[in-house]
């Protein structure tokens, strides 16, 4: 197990017959990083993981681990260990035999294997469970055994394929923190696959958002959320309002967008190529919209539905020209600010709105 072994995807293509599962993927995963691939099911994220693990040969391009091209190197010879979605623990072996399987393969004697297994059981807070069968463990315990089994192989890169998806919500949230802590302790590179944005944003140093075989954006979680690169990323990660229109003017990193509900100003990305007259989408988060007046972006809308969720009230509104608006009001006391049927003026700051060239949104 050595730290700082990075992984590079270099113009990677994977095809299954006519179907392109991964299209020209490029990514540099720094050694010791917690890197997530986030995307809806079928977007090719698992295929990327299997290609890094060596179960899938690239149809073009390279996978490099620690700078070394992995072409022709089988899964059993790569410095990676994969944690499967269903964990794939060996049901007929005891817990300690599961954990020490990679040592058995290397020809380590029984006492040495047992000793290492006990150390790892200590690490995953399951001391004394070595002689149990996998079927005698709970879901969370199995999860930890799978992690220990993978770590026992001393991989430079740990690959995790939605390993928390089978757990219930509370356990999933606890395992997130635990996984992150284990990653910090062992210091090796983690590549994590998930369709759950909460998991990706809370655990990862970097997130790659994928759509239909294409990596749309690679950035840290904050940037993904606050400064999405494409309409897909903006609509897939978190809630967002989309206002469609045409660019009226562009100046100093901001653009004016003309929509049926009026003229709105929003931030442009530094790499933006939008010109006046171009089709654009303006994205504004529900929590960035406020009731009242003052700010430069204003529109009037009627409340259609409200949902009280404790910490916030989610409102569903409709603007005069038919635009649907979602907004969230943080609960600051017992006063009820809005109710169904009432008409309000909504405002948002130009800094919190993002203007992107029109493109495909996530399909609901």
């Amino acid at each position: 197990m050595s730290r700082n072994v990075g992984v590079e995807l270099d113009a990677l293509w994977v095809r299954f017959g006519d179907f392109v599962a991964v299209r020209d993927a490029n990514a540099t995963i720094t050694g010791g990083e917690f890197f997530s691939f986030l995307g809806p099911s079928g977007c090719g994220k698992t295929t990327i993981l299997r290609t890094v693990a060596g179960f899938q040969a690239p149809g073009g391009g390279q996978v490099r681990i620690g700078g070394r091209d992995m072409a022709g190197i089988g899964p059993n010879m790569r410095p990676t260990a994969l944690i499967f979605q269903n964990l794939a623990l060996f049901p007929l072996m005891k817990v300690w035999e599961n954990i020490a399987f990679s040592l058995e393969v290397k020809g380590v004697g029984k006492t040495g294997r047992r000793k290492r297994a006990e150390e790892l059981l200590e690490l995953i807070a399951l001391p004394g469970a070595g002689d149990k069968l996998v079927s005698e463990l709970s879901g969370g315990q199995r999860q930890r055994v799978a992690i220990a089994r993978a770590l026992c192989a001393e991989p430079d890169v740990l690959l995790l394929d939605e390993p928390l998806s089978a757990l219930d919500l509370k356990l999933r949230q606890r395992m997130r923190a635990e996984l992150r802590a284990i990653q910090r302790r062992v210091g090796i590179t983690f590549i994590y696959i998930t369709h759950d944005q909460g998991e990706a944003l809370t655990m990862s140093d970097k997130v790659a958002v994928m759509k239909a075989g294409v990596i749309e954006q690679i950035a840290d979680g904050r940037t993904i959320y606050n400064n999405p690169a494409t309409p897909f990323v903006a609509s897939f990660v978190g809630e967002n309002n989309v206002l469609r229109g045409k660019i009226r003017a562009v100046a100093e990193g901001f653009a004016q967008v003309e929509t049926p509900d009026g003229l709105f100003r929003g931030r442009l990305r530094t790499d933006a190529t939008l010109q006046p007259g171009g089709d654009a989408m303006l994205f504004i988060r529900p929590e960035a919209i406020a009731l009242g007046g003052g700010a430069e972006n204003r529109l009037t809308a009627t409340v259609e539905a409200e949902a009280f969720e404790g910490q916030a009230t989610h409102l569903q509104l409709r603007a005069a020209a038919g635009q649907a608006i979602k907004m969230s009001l943080v609960n600051r006391g017992a006063v009820r600010d809005a109710h169904s049927g009432s008409c309000h003026q909504l405002v948002f700051a130009a800094e919190q709105a993002v203007v992107l060239p029109a493109g495909e949104l996530v399909s609901e």
Partner: protein, 317 residues
């Protein structure tokens, strides 16, 4: 009454009665009673019908004694490590008996080695349509009855058979090889006869093995043979034992294949049993020989199951 009442409640009166009498009839009348009659007969003298039930109709161990020591005046003696014990010994029957058991074990092992890779391939590769055709191709030849198949093998392996024709024309041999005398035909026929009973249980077991387990083992650095040794075979063990048990039992008890394909010098133990019943007109002795074979086979299977740590319940899975 609780269990019985529950049984009828679950299945209804009609189905309950049918299950009770159907299974009862099957077990009692078709299995237990005939075997008990056979067991009883094996301890009796071979009497003409007029004396059956008379004062001479008494229990005896004579038939079993005959299996061990042969006819009175049998010159063969039991040798232990070259030392003449002086005890008469039925060399022919006992050696045929052991040869049959060993040959049946060898055929079973051969079938296992032949079928495991096939069953693994069929069970683990998602070959879909092709896999189903392959399974069908395995099944269809078994529509042909056993005796016809045995004769077909005789033709295949005969002096002027296809195999010899090919070998001669390819210049591999200059004389037709006598596959019948060398028992090649016999073992090929026996090996082929029950192959399905080996493939299907193993295939069933392997099909339910999660593919990720194999990939996980590979990912942890395991070479292919260790994956089979540590992951696939332990998982498929009930299927393997079930297949081996059936093939062994049926091979040891086979009659048609040895009768038709056996060379002039090879005798299968079932043929001796058949001779006692048929030409020998001594049902009592035939029964004793059949009982010996049955108990030897059951004992051997139980011993092997113990050796490989398989429980009876797992086989039924």
């Amino acid at each position: 009454m609780g269990a019985v009442g529950g049984f009828f409640e679950r299945n209804g009166l009609l189905l309950g009665l049918y299950l009770l009498f159907g299974v009862g009839f099957w077990i009692l009348v078709l299995i237990v009673l005939p075997q008990l009659a056979m067991l009883d007969l094996s301890f009796r003298h071979n009497l003409p019908p007029s004396l059956v039930g008379g004062p001479d109709d008494v229990y005896t161990l004579e038939n079993y004694r005959h299996f061990l020591v042969g006819n009175p005046g049998n010159p063969d003696r039991l040798f232990l490590f070259g030392w003449d014990t002086g005890i008469p010994f039925n060399t022919i029957d006992i050696s045929v008996f052991f040869r049959t058991i060993l040959a049946a074990l060898a055929v079973t092992l051969f079938d296992l080695l032949l079928c495991y890779p096939l069953a693994y391939y069929l069970g683990q590769s998602n070959i879909g349509g092709f896999g189903r055709i392959f399974l069908l191709l395995l099944v269809i030849p078994y529509w042909v009855n056993e005796i016809l198949r045995a004769f077909a093998f005789r033709i295949l392996f005969g002096n002027s058979g296809i195999l010899n024709f090919l070998l001669l024309n390819l210049g591999i041999v200059d004389q037709p090889a006598d596959f019948i005398r060398a028992d090649v035909a016999l073992y090929a026929g026996l090996g082929y006869a029950y192959i399905l009973l080996m493939i299907f249980p193993i295939y069933n077991a392997i099909e339910s093995l999660d593919r990720n387990q194999i990939e996980a083992a590979r990912d942890l650095g395991s070479p292919w043979w260790r994956i089979h040794w540590r992951v696939v075979i332990p998982f498929a063990k009930p299927g393997i034992v079930s297949g081996c048990t059936m093939v062994f039992m049926l091979t040891a008890g086979a009659l048609a294949a040895p009768q038709i394909l056996g060379g002039p010098s090879s005798l299968w133990f079932t043929q001796i049993i058949y001779q006692w019943f048929n030409t020998g007109q001594n049902w009592a002795r035939g029964s004793a020989y059949a009982v010996v074979l049955l108990f030897a086979c059951v004992g051997l299977v139980l011993l092997l199951m113990r050796l490989f740590k398989v429980k009876m319940g797992e086989i039924g899975k």
